[in-house]
């Protein structure tokens, strides 16, 4: 079964403290939504650097929570920051879809 998030690293970091995990999941979702908002805003011509920064930030938090597929998509978006708006729109769509899976997974854990 495909798992959108591998929490092994995170649990090792938190020592399995569920209260901290809950707080981290909430913070992850907040940061992620900010990144999605940034990518959406900068999904136009002439915003390559801002797009790259948003994708880079998203990649960092995706890696840290263990959302590996999401981090791969963000890396692609970061690497292709000079792409045209249509290509960026496609990348953004993939990122949003993957993030929806991650969010759903975390929601289930949080109850």
């Amino acid at each position: 079964m495909y798992l959108s998030v591998d929490l092994t690293n995170l649990r090792e970091m938190t020592g399995g403290d569920s209260a901290i995990e809950q707080m981290l999941f909430v913070e992850f979702c907040k940061s992620a939504q900010g990144c999605v908002q940034g990518l959406t805003q900068f999904c136009t011509e002439g915003q390559a650097e801002n797009w790259r920064k948003s994708a880079h930030a998203f990649k960092g938090i995706a890696l840290n929570i263990g959302a590996n597929q999401l981090s791969v998509l963000c890396k692609q978006a970061q690497d292709q920051h000079m792409a045209d708006a249509a290509t960026k729109a496609l990348m953004l769509q993939s990122i949003k879809s993957e993030y929806a899976l991650v969010e759903e997974y975390l929601s289930k854990i949080m109850g």
Partner: protein, 326 residues
């Protein structure tokens, strides 16, 4: 010889005056000094007199601001003027006084900070006379000058003002690549010196986490908080303040920050506190970033995702280095 000393109460009035006076002239360089005096405090008149004396023999215009800012306008190279002026300032003050001379001599940077109108005038002048454009000092020169703290008591040297060297400067591209400068204030330098002394007595390391993403910052903090006193921030400027207050033993430093970048911070910490132990943390996995981090004094490099092993390997490395040093 020309010394033109003008005093103004406010910086904006002073800059207007500079602009008026040099509109028809050939403005080549403008340096913004801020002198902060520790120990015996002279009054403003004494201070102005002392700085005037420093500039006797120099063909320059000097503008004093009541808050201690001094603007010096001259034709010549920034590098030589700074060196000479700092020597003279050191020599001019009494022995029981310590002077932190914070220099903001980057012409273009200062002019950008102080107003669009002034910037345009200066650019026109400089482009009109490229042969007279001053060669900006290197960043290392500027920072060395910025932190110079001198105990004085020597006689003032009599050498004159240096002449222009005829270097042309591409002011436009210079303005494009200047990043916001991150620095310790004179007060923070004093605080840091005290904190470094306190650190020597400390048994357990203190850690500073500088990371712009709240989630990643909390994650790192949560893994460290059980064993270490940990401070954290997302801002470069706040990191400087925290560093000055606590002189942390280890700094986990992200590269991309909203108000600066980690490389600049690493370099700054290293320069003021050679014992600093900076670990760069980033989602980059690029050789040039690693090399830049190393050149700026980082002792280790962690590529995201964080995991406990990577973090504690860095802390172990810190302990090993400390044992070797002692």
């Amino acid at each position: 010889m020309l010394i033109d000393v003008i005093e103004q109460d406010s910086e904006s009035a002073l800059l207007q005056m500079i602009e008026r006076n040099h509109k028809q002239g050939s403005l080549a360089s403008l340096v913004h000094f801020k002198f902060t005096l520790f120990g015996a405090q002279p009054n403003h008149d004494q201070f102005v007199l002392a700085v005037k004396e420093c500039l006797i023999g120099f063909k320059a215009s000097v503008y004093f601001c009541a808050d201690g800012d001094v603007f010096v306008v001259w034709r010549g190279t920034a590098r030589n003027v700074l060196k000479q002026l700092l020597q003279n300032v050191k020599a001019a003050f009494a022995q029981d006084m310590t002077i932190a001379c914070d220099v903001f001599p980057h012409h273009y940077y200062d002019l950008l900070a102080h107003g669009e109108e002034l910037r345009i005038i200066c650019k026109q002048k400089l482009h009109a006379q490229p042969g007279l454009a001053p060669l900006p000092p290197s960043d290392a020169d500027l920072d060395a000058a910025a932190i110079r703290i001198a105990r004085t008591g020597h006689s003032r040297p009599d050498s004159g003002f240096p002449q222009a060297e005829g270097h042309a400067t591409d002011w436009h591209s210079l303005g494009q690549r200047i990043e916001p400068r991150l620095r310790f204030s004179p007060e923070q330098i004093v605080t840091l010196a005290q904190a470094v002394e306190i650190r020597k007595q400390r048994k357990h390391p203190e850690i500073l986490v500088v990371e712009d993403q709240t989630f990643s910052r909390l994650l790192l903090h949560s893994s460290l908080r059980e064993h270490y006193t940990t401070h954290s921030t997302e801002q470069a400027k706040e990191a400087i303040q925290l560093y000055a207050e606590h002189a942390p033993d280890i700094v986990f430093l992200d590269i991309e920050l909203p108000d600066g970048n980690g490389h600049q911070l690493a370099e700054l910490f290293k320069r003021f506190d050679p014992q600093t132990f900076v670990v760069m943390v980033t989602a980059y996995n690029q050789q040039d970033e690693v090399m830049r981090a190393r050149n700026n004094g980082a002792r280790a490099f962690v590529i995201k995702p964080y995991n406990k092993q990577k973090i504690f390997d860095c802390i172990q490395l810190f302990h090993r280095n400390r044992r070797k040093a002692s």
